[in-house]
Symmetry: C2
């Protein structure tokens, strides 16, 4: 484990050059992914077919020599495993039969999630076996709030109107959904660690649409429960929290949840990042659209982020997932620049 | 002027009960607006027909006794006035013929904006004449960055990919667009003040999609120029800046731009708001969806915001525009609660 540069940074040691991986590094911007995509009927089939999930996970590490692999999977395998009906239409995002009241909750069965996700854990083991020992394998799950937004809205949302309405109208009922997702997420992450993931990341992609009271109740509280439960079972496995859009509350989030490290979205200024770095390692935060754009602005910003965060533990990453139109050449240049800028 | 509770708060005096108005208070959630909407061919026709714009501006003040009227208009009258072709399709947002390079810029004519917007200034004068003297009249414009996103993307965007690509590829060319918008915005706000607006607000609705360097260059810089130019011409007219999504940079924004007061989006925690209040008055920041939802959660939050910000100058508002599905009864209850909670 201490042979892995990313794990050393997660343990609080600054590195000569920051380890680098990219959110959604396995995916549509890679021609080899697009080719493999044809082998499966649906997006979720890719996630549930270990041979394909393993190959897709390894593709970007092979091509770019990233310091970490992140399991190719999706945050919606958890609700799918609990019995919500999840589908993906190419180019249109996920579609779920929405869960909107106590009756819908009663129809869910969190106990079936583990068996349903068995191929996911099988893929984790196979990736760990195939991956060079100095590379870190990252497992992941969505944060309960973020998964709840998809479950209640029935897919992506611009307004979050339905999920917020339930949250305010019936906090007890909505709290039960959050609790079910929290428990199932603990189990899902725990099984990934048992299967060979070195660390895990919690993607709270929609943290930013909540005001502080709801952020504390539905993001910080459940994340703390997840971190505590994982610590008890797997004390050596770091947990990275990524509360996208948390703004000035990121420092509070890091302190109150007990996450090992915190992922920074694009909007976090370097001065704020340095303040957080005094407590926990940080990960981030290049604008994914700047990686897609390339050019002198990209070079300048990479240098700025690397040198700006060199005084403490830092893992280089984007501030959000890589976008499909990103030229793979830009990614290769990025990795070289991150390693060269240090 | 000092008879107006909102102007007193903008001058830094805390009030017994905060003055209250709501972003987009004149609009689709009101049946009397929906009825008037039928009188005009297009949304922009409403803006350019003083008789209709005046009536729509006054409707919510009449119904709810708000402390301020905000001119019924749109941030896109500025690019429309400069010769970009702006259309609105009901329910689909604005559509513009996009401006994406130096050639497109050359076709614009900022000098025609003032004549084009003459009906807007006429509406301001008529509203001021009709409005009770203790009510504040707010003029407004979009921030140059926000208007540029619509101009370059050709409408609303989820990704801001095209505008960011131009910004990074050709900072000089993109800077000229921002400069043109900045100058025209100064003129547009100045003419609203001359016509009778007591103060103005700059809506930088998409400030939150920029990383810090671009935020400083394309939001803070142009806003400072606007504030300085308005101060020189109209020293008594307060300028409220609303950099939505600025996160931990809001305090810096307030200090660096010189705005009189700062609008807070829903994500700003009250502790951060209180810190900002030590320098400038704040305005905000109830979640518009909580106003639409109503109930006990709404009552609790209103009390929390009012009492939480009672120690300094505070204007009660939403953290973003009111949503069309908001029951007007909730708005009446909100105004009563704000005045009763103090």
């Amino acid at each position: 484990m201490t042979d892995q540069s990313m794990m050393r940074v997660l343990a609080g040691e600054p590195a000569a050059a920051p380890p680098v991986w990219l959110m959604r590094q396995a995916g549509r911007y890679l021609p080899e992914y697009r080719q493999l995509r044809q082998s499966a009927e649906s997006f979720l089939d890719l996630c549930y077919t270990p041979k394909l999930a393993v190959e897709i996970t390894l593709q970007p590490v092979r091509r770019f020599d990233f310091d970490a692999a992140i399991l190719f999977s999706d945050i919606l395998v958890v609700p799918d495993g609990m019995g919500m009906t999840v589908g993906f239409e190419d180019g249109h995002g996920p579609v779920l039969v929405p869960v909107q009241d106590a009756g819908d909750l009663a129809a869910l069965d969190p106990d079936r999630a583990a068996a349903h996700c068995a191929p996911v854990y099988e893929a984790v083991s196979a990736v760990r076996a195939a991956l060079a020992p100095e590379k870190t394998l990252i497992g992941f799950a969505g944060g309960p709030w973020t998964v709840a937004t998809y479950a209640v809205e029935g897919g992506s949302s611009r307004t979050f109107e339905t999920v917020k309405a339930w949250m305010w109208r019936d906090p007890a009922g909505f709290g039960r959904l959050i609790d079910m997702l929290t428990d199932t997420t603990v189990d899902h992450l725990s099984r990934q660690i048992e299967a060979g993931a070195d660390c895990v990341q919690i993607f709270e992609s929609w943290a930013g649409v909540l005001a502080e009271p709801e952020f504390r109740r539905y993001v910080v509280g459940p994340t703390r429960r997840i971190v505590e439960a994982l610590r008890a079972r797997h004390p050596a496995a770091p947990v990275i929290g990524f509360p996208r859009g948390a703004g000035s509350l990121i420092g509070d989030y890091a302190a109150a949840t007990g996450v090992t490290a915190v992922g920074l979205d694009t909007g976090v200024p370097l001065a704020q990042a340095r303040a957080i770095q005094k407590s926990v390692p940080v990960q981030g935060n290049l604008d994914p659209l700047l990686l897609a754009a390339g050019g002198a602005a990209l070079e300048d910003r990479v240098e700025e982020i690397v040198s700006g965060l060199a005084g403490g533990p830092h893992i280089f990453n984007l501030g959000h997932g890589i976008v499909p139109q990103t030229p793979p050449d830009h990614v290769a240049e990025l990795v070289a620049a991150v390693r060269g800028a240090a």
